[in-house]
């Protein structure tokens, strides 16, 4: 009698970097769905096509994986900010550039706002460090300050105004499943048309909310 064929499937790959990247992609999805607390390592493993053990082998524990996901997301946004032209002497132009860059990033990654909502509410911002938040908000706050000084923007509180503007841009993506019934049945809130409509409307409202009438 020949030995029974081994039950174990062959490892999908042995490329550690490729495996880590696939885990990070799946994890980003899962953390957006359920947050650090609700995310299931089993679900991440299933989406990735590897076993749970690989997550612990490569990232130590669930929290380590979560931090890696956050770091990658923040790095992406910082890179976008650097690419955008925010130093136009006209504050209104700089503001439009910032908002446009931000909304286009969201367009391509609509699940990211959810990650940060979870981070703020569930983890009380524990992993979303002071440095990261400063890097993301400071450019916007600076533009608002410049516009107020130049007499282009109303004299609002720049910090509250900045937070509110980000809220106006991201809320759509965080509440899609709550508000989808406002549109006719069958409308896809993430279709290219709907995302463009959101971008247009949000950009207009955000900028107009600040300009002097």
């Amino acid at each position: 009698m020949s030995p029974p064929p081994t039950k174990k499937a062959a490892p999908a790959t042995r490329d550690a970097e490729a495996t880590k990247a696939r885990i990070l992609d799946a994890a980003e999805n899962e953390f957006a769905r359920a947050g650090l607390l609700g995310a299931r390592t089993e679900a991440i493993a299933a989406k990735t096509g590897v076993t749970k053990s690989m997550i612990f082998y490569h990232f130590g524990d669930k929290e380590g994986l979560y931090q890696a996901v956050l770091e990658r997301v923040v790095a992406l946004r910082i890179s976008s900010i650097q690419k955008a032209d925010l130093h136009n002497s006209d504050a209104e132009v700089a503001l439009r550039n910032f908002i446009d860059s931000f909304l286009r990033d969201l367009d391509g990654n609509p699940q990211i706002p959810a990650i940060f909502f979870y981070e703020g509410i569930q983890n009380k911002g524990k992993f979303y460090s002071q440095i990261a938040i400063t890097a993301l908000y400071t450019p916007l706050v600076d533009i608002i300050r410049r516009g107020i000084e130049a007499g282009q923007f109303r004299a609002v509180d720049p910090l509250h105004a900045a937070v509110n503007m980000i809220g106006m841009c991201v809320f759509y993506y965080c509440s899609i499943d709550n508000v989808k019934h406002l549109w006719p049945a069958g409308t896809n809130p993430l279709s290219a048309e709907m995302k463009e409509l959101h971008r247009m409307t949000a950009a207009e409202q955000t900028v107009a909310g600040l300009l002097i009438r």
Copy 2:
């Protein structure tokens, strides 16, 4: 020998309605902290001062308790909407009334936006019925439509505009722990002064975002 004194503490109360109300209050807090999935019945019981069993006795299961919390919250908002004067012939006045009423409700219940974020993202809006969303958004959408027709508001998409405006109003309360480092250390984001500043800024930005320049 006399029988040993019973270890069991006397029941805190035997008033079912009072107990249910205390459970609902604690549950609202806990669901805002962690959502339906992350909420711990044990935590709710501890905050309430009764045992876990009472939750199951009065509400069947965790999901039943969750639905009861949502219903109470929605009923509150609907009652506020009915109290506000939204039928002023001037759409700008009606809009200011709506936003002011909404922001004042948030002022008193800053944890409610979190409940709805969880509901949308985690539960995909399963318990936040079509009827509820319609009741909450329709008055705002109607005001926006009236203002556009009267030539007071820019010709934006009314549905997207309404969602974005709500986002501008609630985002502050959902991201406090993410953005708190923007303010000097020791600033309390929920102090009366900060909440008033948020109300003022958000109301201005929301209305200005719609008005024709």
